[in-house]
Symmetry: C2
Subunit: 677 residues, 2 copies
Amino acid sequence: MSQDTESSKDPLILFMPSGKRGRFPLGTPLIDAARELGVYVESVCGGRGICGRCQIEVQEGQFAKHGITSSNAHISELGPKEIRYAELRELRDGRRLSCSSTVQGDLVIDIPQDLQINAQVVRKADDGRIIARNPAVHLCYVEVPEPDMHQPLGDLDRLKIVLAKEWGWDNLDVDPKIFAVVQSILEKGDWSVTAVIHEEVEGGRAIITGIYPGLKNEAYGIACDIGSTTIAMHLVSLLSGMTLASSGASNPQIRFGEDLMSRVSYVMMNPDGREAMTDAVRATLNELIGNVCKDAEIDREDIHNLVFVGNPVMHHLFLGIDPTPLGGAPFALAVSSAVHIYARDLDLNANEGAQVYILPCIAGHVGADAAAVALCEGPHRQDNMMLVVDVGTNAEIILGNRERVVAASSPTGPAFEGAEISCGQRAAPGAIERVRIDKDTLEPKIRIIGVEKWSDEEGFDEEAKAIGITGVCGSAIIEVVAEMYLTGIISEDGVVDGSLSAKSDRIIEDGRTHAYVLWRGDVELVIKQTDIRAIQLAKSALYAGIKLLMEKRGIEQVDSISFAGAFGTFIDPKYAMVLGLIPDCDLTKVKAVGNAAGTGAKMTLLNRSYRREIEELVQNIEKIETALEPKFQEHFVNAMAMPNKIDAFPNLGKIVDLPEKSATPSSGRRRRRARSQ
Amino acid sequence: MSQDTESSKDPLILFMPSGKRGRFPLGTPLIDAARELGVYVESVCGGRGICGRCQIEVQEGQFAKHGITSSNAHISELGPKEIRYAELRELRDGRRLSCSSTVQGDLVIDIPQDLQINAQVVRKADDGRIIARNPAVHLCYVEVPEPDMHQPLGDLDRLKIVLAKEWGWDNLDVDPKIFAVVQSILEKGDWSVTAVIHEEVEGGRAIITGIYPGLKNEAYGIACDIGSTTIAMHLVSLLSGMTLASSGASNPQIRFGEDLMSRVSYVMMNPDGREAMTDAVRATLNELIGNVCKDAEIDREDIHNLVFVGNPVMHHLFLGIDPTPLGGAPFALAVSSAVHIYARDLDLNANEGAQVYILPCIAGHVGADAAAVALCEGPHRQDNMMLVVDVGTNAEIILGNRERVVAASSPTGPAFEGAEISCGQRAAPGAIERVRIDKDTLEPKIRIIGVEKWSDEEGFDEEAKAIGITGVCGSAIIEVVAEMYLTGIISEDGVVDGSLSAKSDRIIEDGRTHAYVLWRGDVELVIKQTDIRAIQLAKSALYAGIKLLMEKRGIEQVDSISFAGAFGTFIDPKYAMVLGLIPDCDLTKVKAVGNAAGTGAKMTLLNRSYRREIEELVQNIEKIETALEPKFQEHFVNAMAMPNKIDAFPNLGKIVDLPEKSATPSSGRRRRRARSQ
């Protein structure tokens, strides 16, 4: 590149959409110009004009702002390589191969965003997030010199030499599995092969993990979240960054134990329990890999990189590690840092040399899934104070900003998922998902999954009858308890007001307590005092954990709240706040972020620099073990009330009419202050 | 260390036998003083006084030459660690632990050469060679902090941190197999473990390949030469350098084919042939590992490093690579450079994390065994011009000095091993191994394997009868043909002089040719004209290869000749020269070097810097493919005569009476010169 001065006679090249520009001598290949300016142009074939990944387009016209007149006359004429490529594959009108065309005058060059053909620099995740593409897997096409008796180097050795010479890979390691196949692949490719090179850390150790005969123009990856209940998998093109297929399955370990603790117990009680659960989850993963490959019509042999996240017990069982120590204090992880391992060593069926990356675990209760959530939401990339909550059987809580991030796990139990609730059920057609209670009549209206209408709308009864109303799902339990509180059916302490039975027949006696009949139909769905208690326990555990982190971080207010996971997707933030699951916050800054763990996994799959980012973050996160914090118990007790007796909810107060409190938040704060003096 | 000046008041410490010296402040631990001076003192426990490997002895007395008065009063008194060690294990009188004793005055310190206890710096190989000890395997004892909920790092992560802190291992990689066992081993060792760390290249990538509970004070290695006929294995202590056991076995691949080419053919003809031979050799290696472990009474789980050498076909079959391309031009190796691989990936039963190193192959006919021979003999370390010959079915020839080394393989065929000879047999009791023929009577005298006496000595007949004379072994075939030439029974062209049948009844008719009856007894052993031809073909192939290398190297004379392998051990160099197997040389500089391939393997096992040395040498060796050299055929024809028609043998002429030649060597040279003009 020459100096971009007025006096320079070299043509000016402007690359769009990045706007990067520079002057280059006549005859410079455009791919060289792009790379010199740091414009990412993919190439698998090393400039031989056969992979077609380096396509560009010339924009014609006057670009007054830049002082350029760009024209197809300013680029070299279609050369033999491009003509051959156009014949063999397809070169759309106006498209050129940047490796085979040269600068002949000022040019404005467009890097097409047409992903299927030309790998682009950035890729949007499902939620619109931008993921810059920088995978650990590289495809490098080379022509290997034939054997020479005067220089009797091995086939593999000559391959390594040409990879060093043409692609700059020095000191390549080799997967020993390659030894036995290198001859036949070279022969099949007539001495031309595409090497798959895995470089985990940029400039670090690089390994030849595979070889294909001839040109190989595709490589795929897997991003997978191994949840205790559900396993979600995505198939991603490592060259285009596109998600090509997704699939999910129940975690087969459920048959050994519904929740984490019962699975740990199963291992403790059964000598082969760990192995059985390891085998089960790996078998399901292999099935899922088969499913996504079938959907995308690709060969599983073309999968070269797999990223997994999961909570610590899932993480250990997947790796074949005994999770028993995670079942009790000190909740010791066997391995906490990121794991690099061959997929074959985990019995996963993908390319023979495929590499697995597993994100680091944060602590004994805060796993690689939480790390992925943290990476995805990125409190450490922000000035704002961000609270990230992922609710499952445990709630993982991450709080912080650029300066410092703290994390903990709160033992919420499974109430939020509908377990431990008498009329609770998983989210499925026929489950009540929305509830409103009239303040005057105490009559409810509901919505069920599978029917668009509310129960007071015309036609609801017929549609509901067809599906059958069966129970209350997790998100609706939050709503019904919150509505009961807002309508005075329960007190701030969660006690059903039996005196209201005079006013409404929905308030009924239930042993020594009272209950609320939410639905009367083929089934009767009753919210019992014990159900309310279960929700109170769960929400106060969550809130106590959040409060603890806020204190550790020295703040009284968060700027934003991200609800990760399925639970966050379905609950209404307003009701979460009414119940006091989360602290007061501008409701417009409370958002459900979906499967943030899966997105985090995908980020590290597509861009290895995210791996370094999360590894560093996890090292620096301050881990809080709630069980060790004396304050946790105190917060827990004070958070039982609704919203709670710890904090005020000014933002919430602007939206809903909160009942008057017996002990005001301010008095709660006074009490604590008094005690700490 | 303080400056060693007159004014310094610090005590002077002199280490023997190295003679390294320096002044150190009072109270300096002696292990620190030793290390600062570069005196190698082993330690597994990191100075905790429990491994006992850092033992030293104080020499008492006046050392006038060094100006030191050394005394046990100048070392700290026996401390609690040493007393505990002496109680638990044994601390011989006068021995001290250098990690636990300090400088209290001038000292002369002896590093005991008592190998069993204190690893020494250097080790003599079986042939008296010195091998400096610098293995790729390190044992590091550490006490790992217990799990801490406030710092919830994984067990493995805390282990890595303490290995970095106490032993300086940064960025340790981990064998993924460790994940599943780290918890239980830490528990078993009560948080104290010995890590096995494999560092192939000094300062390069280091991997935790194993963990033992508590202190582990031993680590072993295997050096093995996989010959086409015989496999020879040695078990070596990586800490002391001692060879503890050796074992050998026939190569089980013999049942698939006697020689290399027939095994390659077997693979070509049988779809499962490669796999069958790979499985067979690996099974035998596992048996041999069992044997040497049993002999040395060690556990095979304590073997952490294995080095293998072998010719290219053995190398490929061992690695599971199809050797077919080695069967014909261009004799292409799949892998030529050194191989690093887990032993488990080769189905070898040793420690789970044991690492295999295989020396590089030089060319398609010149394997890792030849590389080991080159490393052992070290022409590249000398100023003298050294010829190294390893005779098997092929002869590997290496020639050169510090400046440049050339190598080739000559197709001698199996005649030297007794095959293709009518009365030939392998070396075994009852085989004729020495022959002398009386010049006047043409009567032979012989010696057989298993009997000390010559056949003309009293008592030979009885002893020989007990064993039974069965055939002629390879080394004796050389002798008998050479003696036949020296006594005029055969001409310089190898033709049996039938007219001598008038003089001796040992000259008999044999079809159109004549033969010599070497032995008459229960069996009649006859040297036929075809036997002599077979030896002539073999020896001329060898000589032609040597001559080619001498020309490539531009020399007419070699300074020394090393005969590697079993063949070299048994033949008499004089007769080898009479027959013209080797060029003229001072006979005192011709030596048999035994299993140089095995010694070379052992060198790389004990000292990884030899690995780098041979890798570099192999890259720089000039490889000559005899099949491609027009001169080879010419030399081959001219070398058929005895000694040959190429060179003169002035050194040989001083020792034996060579018969007159029909065409003198000088005329032979003239001929060639005339042709090349």
